[in-house]
């Protein structure tokens, strides 16, 4: 029994079958990669997990709880955080404020009228936010406005915002796209470290095979909305079906 179970999920956009009978079983503490060519339905699948899209049929459960029909903030409060393909951050606010918002969301739930507290006096939350910023090497940028960060920094900030929530499941949608090689390697190290130290389960969509094979415990290959094969990385590499559908171009 995995922490996240996706069973028989279908999703159609008009005549296009975006997801056809997708099954996925993510084991607790593991890193599960979902790969596949463009248009294979990877992001659609992620959107179905976080409440952005409603599948036409099938079931999605997290720790035995049904996720379908829940609002995105309810799903997050259950312990699922998501890093987006294009970074979603609070551009008008400072980096530190970006970090504090998830801290308060974790502590106070989806809504609280905490109008008589003072942000600056929440010592432990401020410390936690700073510590996480330090882990992604962004502490010196704490007072910068988030929208003025570089693309790579925005990604790292978003990841830090998700991690500071201490989620049980972290969904990553191409976390290293647009990053320089050095930053990519840092991100890999960071994610490895998180997995080993905090035992956060991860589901990751990624095109960069270097990232996938450095992190993944299991890999599911999607093609045209259907899972082609699911296995450990070693066997995915040599799998003829996968080569045909996807890796043929990459020559792994």
């Amino acid at each position: 029994m995995g922490i996240l179970e996706v069973t028989g999920v279908n999703k159609k956009f008009g005549g296009l079958q975006a997801l056809g009978d997708v099954n996925l079983d993510v084991a607790e503490g593991s890193c599960h990669a979902i790969i596949g060519p463009n248009g294979a339905g990877k992001s659609t699948l992620l959107n179905c997990l976080v409440g952005k899209l409603m599948p036409d049929s099938g079931s999605v459960t997290f720790q035995g709880k049904n996720l379908l029909g829940l609002k995105p903030h309810e799903i997050n409060q259950l312990g699922i955080s998501r890093v987006f393909q294009t970074p979603e951050i609070f551009g008008d606010l400072s980096v530190m404020e970006n970090m504090l918002i998830p801290c308060f969301a974790r502590r106070d739930g989806s809504f609280r009228l905490h109008a008589f507290e003072t942000v600056a006096r929440e010592k432990s939350l401020n410390d936690e936010a700073e510590q996480m910023l330090a882990e992604v090497n962004m502490l010196e940028k704490r007072n910068m406005q988030a929208s003025s960060l570089s693309r790579g920094d925005k990604r790292r900030l978003e990841m830090a915002m998700c991690l500071v929530q201490k989620p049980k499941l972290l969904l990553l949608d191409e976390p290293t796209a647009g990053m320089a090689r050095a930053d990519t390697n840092n991100t890999i190290e960071l994610l490895k470290d998180i997995k080993d130290r905090l035992h956060i389960t991860m589901a990751i969509i990624e095109h960069d095979m270097h990232v996938v094979f450095s992190l993944a415990d299991r890999i599911t290959v999607l093609a045209q909305g259907t899972p082609l094969v699911e296995d450990v990385p070693e066997r995915i590499k040599g799998h003829p079906k996968v080569r045909e559908a996807y890796l043929g171009e990459a020559q792994v």
Partner: protein
């Protein structure tokens, strides 16, 4: 002090000093001089300044923080006024119960209007609030005439069934609003040379309420709640994927700002117990939008400055007529006099809106952050000059410019 950080405490102390000494500060010109008409230190004017200050500070909690532009806040002001007068008619001339009812009534109405309007965002939200406010205005004029007094407005009368207190005073007059016995109209006048300074109790009462309202606003700005409201403005999608429900936050901000408007409406009738439907007209809603943008939306002190400028222009500039203008330029040759008068005349008196429009245009084009941004730029200019002077020409331009100052940046 009282949970405020250093910069905020400084700001708040400055505000308190300004409030206390307003009768002096706003009366710089001696009576009888030709500039005396620019004095704003008389009770009516000072009361209006702080009351509209409360209105604008409350509006800013919604518009400045969450970015939701309400075009119907005058409805809450109007409801607050009606509720206040009814409390005085039925219960007591003490203004405290009147103010409490004003705030509650405006809060209840804003809960309903906000609940419906916040289902949409952007221009649709603005139009919905505008439509609701105009409905309130029309209702006050038609169906609700028994409650609102229709065109004549709602006023006290000699046969009000006041539970605590009397319907008439011993001399057969309508009693006046008071605060535990101290009448709003009471005050002392101090004559110093050619100046006469009026210390009016009504003003000091309103100023105290303003000081409280401002204090709560500063605390709110620096609170996690305030941070969440700014998150609503910045990225609602990220908010929901961070486990936060943006709708209740926006609604809470809407209701709080509606209550501020109700408080302002209640104070208006506490100073002068008469409520009319025109207080709910859309132009009144527009005025508070102008105040907030003119001063600087999203800043603490901006809306107050904006309210001050607009109330001042409205009251002072509108009294300047052609004769006054001729008086100013009487020393000049006749042809020059008429040239000046012709140029200035459209902008004063009845035409004060034209002047306001011009000021507003200039501010929005050159200082999108409002008067506060103007002040910040001046401050930076001086600071840079000062630094250059001390450090012998070493430029300090390398520091990241993030356009925030103590009034915007929490945690400083």
């Amino acid at each position: 002090m009282l949970g405020l950080n250093k910069a905020d405490t400084r700001l708040y102390v400055i505000i308190l000093i300004m409030l206390i000494f307003a009768p002096f500060i706003l009366n710089p010109f001696p009576d009888g001089s030709s500039l005396a008409q620019f004095n704003a230190g008389y009770p009516d004017m000072m009361q209006k300044l702080v009351i509209f200050g409360i209105f604008a500070v409350g509006f800013n909690i919604l518009f400045g923080l969450t970015g939701y532009l309400s075009f119907g806040h005058a409805a809450f002001l109007g409801v607050g006024s009606y509720a206040g007068v009814w409390m005085m008619k039925l219960l007591t001339m003490n203004v405290i119960p009147a103010l409490i009812l004003s705030v509650l009534a405006a809060g209840a109405l804003s809960l309903i209007i906000g609940f419906v309007s916040l289902r949409r965002s952007g221009i649709y939200f603005s139009i919905l609030t505008l439509a609701f406010a105009q409905m309130c205005y029309s209702l006050a004029y038609s169906v609700l005439t028994p409650i609102t007094g229709g065109e004549t407005g709602l006023q006290l009368s000699l046969d009000d069934p006041r539970v605590i207190g009397t319907s008439q005073t011993a001399s057969g007059n309508i009693p006046v609003p008071h605060f535990f016995g101290i009448e709003m109209g009471q005050g002392i006048t101090i004559d110093v040379g050619a100046w006469s300074f009026v210390f009016n109790f009504g003003y000091y009462f309103a100023a105290t309420v303003f000081a409280l309202a401002m204090f709560l606003a500063i605390r709110l700005f620096r609170s996690p709640f305030g941070l969440m409201l700014r998150a609503v403005k910045s990225n609602q999608s990220r908010m929901s994927y961070t486990g936060l429900s943006s709708r209740p936050y926006a609604l809470a901000a809407f209701v709080i700002s509606g209550m501020y408007a109700g408080l302002a409406g209640g104070l208006m009738v506490a100073m002068d117990p008469l409520a009319g439907a025109e207080r709910m007209l859309w132009t009144a809603s527009g005025e508070v939008v102008l105040m907030t943008i003119l001063g600087g939306a999203g800043t603490l002190i901006g809306p107050v400055l904006g309210a001050g400028v607009i109330v001042y222009l409205e009251s002072i500039i509108s009294t300047i007529n052609e004769a006054v203008l001729h008086g100013w330029f009487s020393g000049l040759p006749a042809w020059l006099d008429s040239v000046f008068v012709t140029i200035i005349k459209p902008f004063v008196g009845e035409g004060w809106h034209l002047l306001l429009g011009a000021v507003f245009m200039l501010v929005v084009i050159f200082l999108p952050g409002g008067i506060v941004e103007g002040g910040q730029r001046l401050g930076r200019l001086f600071r840079r000059d000062g630094a250059r002077g001390r450090k012998n020409g070493a430029p300090k331009n390398g520091a990241p410019k993030n356009g925030t100052d103590s009034a915007e940046q929490p945690g400083e």
